[in-house]
């Protein structure tokens, strides 16, 4: 009961009135940490949007998938990485894969993957959470016990099971990794939305809608959903960083993108053999790592600041 009430209070604070939003924005801009977060996120958005202009394909070889890093024909196919040079700003890694191209397009890939995963996970979470919270009873029991089972595993480990099984039946590991991140992610949203729905369900306007003969679908879509979705959307958008991190971790374990793909985790995975030479080929794993850190740092700073701003206890001080 108390937790539902707390989520409820949280949602009430989120009612997006213009005044509140303006207040939030001024608070955010006053805090140096959140400004840093905003700057980092904008820098990542900039890289992702303008990737084709920042890191164009100069190899002269047409790529059918832009995320596959074009190889410079002048350098051949040697395994030995080349240090950063004017032609390859961040150097090259195994098979002369250009790191600058990989890291910049990796930003775009991170956003694409994050968006894909969040939209689908959120959709599943919304539907199951709505059904469980609105109908209650058997449907609620069924859905919630299913989320219990998924949450009984540490996330990454269940994802490994899905990737291994899907790989065994012939899926590409990247597709398998994306699907498995979705499969481990939705129960969290289901629980959150269910709690919100339980809070809203008893409100007077829902009773009024029901009394005036509105159908279940209409009540859910027009009355319950709009009033329960805000906190969930905030939580989901802040999950962006951790979703990209999970995908990178899977790629790092060799359970994600194919070789030479613009995926930071994969690039670090490709750099692992060179780390065995000490710091001789440091650029092969340090640069992709820095790109990941700048990405997750932006989301975490933003998340911290938002939590502070939205929490009335800390903001009055």
């Amino acid at each position: 009961m108390t937790s539902n009430k707390r989520i409820g209070d949280f949602a009430k604070r989120l009612q997006p009135t213009i005044k509140e939003f303006r207040f939030m924005l001024t608070r955010l801009l006053k805090n140096p940490l959140s400004v840093a977060g905003l700057v980092l996120i904008s820098y990542n958005v900039f890289l992702a949007v303008f990737a084709p202009f920042i890191a164009p394909n100069t190899s002269g070889i047409l790529q059918y998938d832009p995320y596959l890093i074009p190889k410079d024909p002048a350098l051949g196919m040697w395994m030995q990485p080349n240090p950063p040079s004017p032609g390859h700003l961040l150097g090259t890694t195994s098979m002369q894969v250009d790191l600058f191209y990989g890291c910049v397009w990796g930003t775009r890939f991170a956003f694409q993957l994050g968006l894909e995963v969040i939209v689908i996970t959120l959709a599943i979470g919304l539907i199951t959470g709505l059904l469980a919270g609105y109908y209650g009873g058997f449907i609620d029991e069924l859905i919630m016990r299913f989320t219990d089972i998924i949450l009984a595993f540490p996330g990454l480990i269940l994802a490994m099971v899905f990737v291994a099984v899907l790989g065994k039946i012939g899926w590409e590991t990247l597709q398998a990794a994306i699907l498995s991140i979705i499969l481990i992610g939705w129960p969290g949203y289901t629980r959150l939305i269910r709690g919100e729905v339980l809070r809203v369900r008893g409100e007077d306007y829902v009773e009024a809608a029901r009394a005036s003969g509105a159908s279940d679908l209409r009540i859910m879509a027009r009355h319950i959903l709009p009033n329960s979705i805000y906190s969930v959307i905030i939580v989901a958008s802040l999950d962006f960083g951790s979703i990209v991190l999970t995908a990178a971790a899977l790629s790092f374990l060799g359970l994600g993108s194919p070789p030479g793909y613009s995926d930071w985790g994969r690039l670090i995975f490709d750099g692992v053999p060179y780390a065995g030479n000490g710091l001789t080929y440091w650029w092969t794993f340090v640069y992709p790592g820095i790109f990941i850190v700048l990405f997750t740092l932006g989301w975490n700073l933003m998340g911290d600041a938002l939590r502070d701003v939205l929490d009335p206890l800390s903001r009055r001080k």
């Binding site: 009961m1 540490p154 480990i157 490994m160 670090i268 780390a275 000490g278």
Partner: protein
């Protein structure tokens, strides 16, 4: 409801969850074609010949109805038959159990550090809110949660293992490792716990003990850095909340010293919500172990399963996942019981 009744009820709740875990794994395995699924049980590649494989599919009952298959498979699990690894060429359950102590050894050293440092930093940082100490701690915790463990690990391993050669990858220096296996085969070395640090002490080999200890430093460092950061965040905000409560003002007004108020009144109450997230911490640690062991080639269950996953060796991955689920569910049970013990309101509500 008394504490004992609460524990019993909570214990009974584990049964459906574990059954669900097994059912989920079984359902996922149904995606695999029987011809491929049978390879999870057969040892001899000659048994995979097209003319005989159907015989084995029939013998293992993989051509029967789903519930019959589940019955056989579940019966096998209860008897300890979790399948055979075609990649490692061994039965998966004994192979898992052999590797558990290595993983447990990292946890044994990492967990106390995480808890002590995390709570200490969180409390002190809340007490000194917005002072330099607090700012430093916040930067540390934000960095810790943003720094991927595999990146941190690979940089450390490049510097200390490959460049400076202060320590080798793995659990023990290879020369000492061969010594240990020689001693083991000649019956001089006794395996008491499976933990390299403890066993070496019991066998009176201080050199091996020190070597094993040094090999634990980097994995423990990577694991603790990230998990401590999570704990610091939670402790800090919980402590800040506790410090704002009226009973703190009352205690101060009563004339208690600042230290008494902070450590006797505020900290005790602040730690209650921290207990609830420690279950989450266990999950994070198990995930972190997969990465850490892989980076440092530490021969635990995490790196074992991760390597098998890359070649889609399903039987290894599922036994590892089920084992992790059992540990995770038990850890959450302990957390819940602890929480109910500390905070009587839980039992009554």
């Amino acid at each position: 409801m008394g504490l004992r009744e609460y524990i019993i009820r909570r214990l009974i709740l584990i049964i459906p969850i574990m059954l669900g875990v097994v059912l989920l794994i079984f359902a996922v395995m149904q995606l695999i074609d029987p011809v491929l699924r049978i390879t999870l049980f057969l040892r001899n590649p000659r048994q995979f010949q097209p003319d005989v494989i159907n015989l084995y599919i029939h013998e293992y009952g993989l051509d029967q109805a789903v519930w019959v298959q589940f019955y056989h498979w579940f019966g096998g699990l209860l008897a300890g038959n979790f399948g055979y690894s075609g990649y490692y060429k061994e039965m998966v359950l004994p192979a898992l159990l052999v590797r558990v102590p290595a993983t447990f050894e990292i946890v044994l050293f990492a967990a106390p550090v995480i808890v002590l440092v995390g709570i200490w930093l969180g409390v002190e940082s809340a007490v000194r809110k917005d002072k330099p100490f607090d700012q430093m701690t916040r930067i540390f915790s934000i960095l810790g949660t943003s720094l991927p463990s595999f990146f941190f690990g690979i940089v450390l391993s490049a510097i200390f293992i490959a460049q400076l050669r202060w320590v080798t990858a793995g659990r023990i220096t290879p020369t000492l490792g061969t010594q240990v296996s020689l001693l083991k085969s000649s019956g001089v070395w006794h395996t008491y716990t499976g933990l390299m640090t403890l066993d070496s002490l019991f066998n009176a080999r201080l050199d091996i003990f020190l070597d094993a200890l040094i090999h634990l430093v980097l994995p423990v460092l990577v694991l603790t850095f990230i998990q401590t950061a999570v704990l610091v965040r939670v402790t800090r905000s919980s402590m800040l909340e506790a410090l704002g409560k009226t009973y703190i003002t009352a205690a101060r007004a009563k004339g208690l010293t600042k230290n008494e108020v902070i450590y006797k009144h505020a900290r005790r109450n602040a730690l209650i919500p921290v207990v609830t997230i420690s279950g989450l911490l266990v999950g994070g640690m198990m995930t972190g172990l997969v990465i850490t062991e892989t980076v440092f080639l530490f021969p635990g269950i995490g790196s074992w399963a991760a390597e098998a996953a890359t070649v889609f060796d399903v039987s290894v991955v599922i036994v590892y996942a089920m084992f992790s689920a059992v540990v995770f569910v038990l850890a959450n049970l302990i957390v819940d019981v602890l929480y109910a013990y500390i905070d009587p309101r839980i039992r009554l509500g």
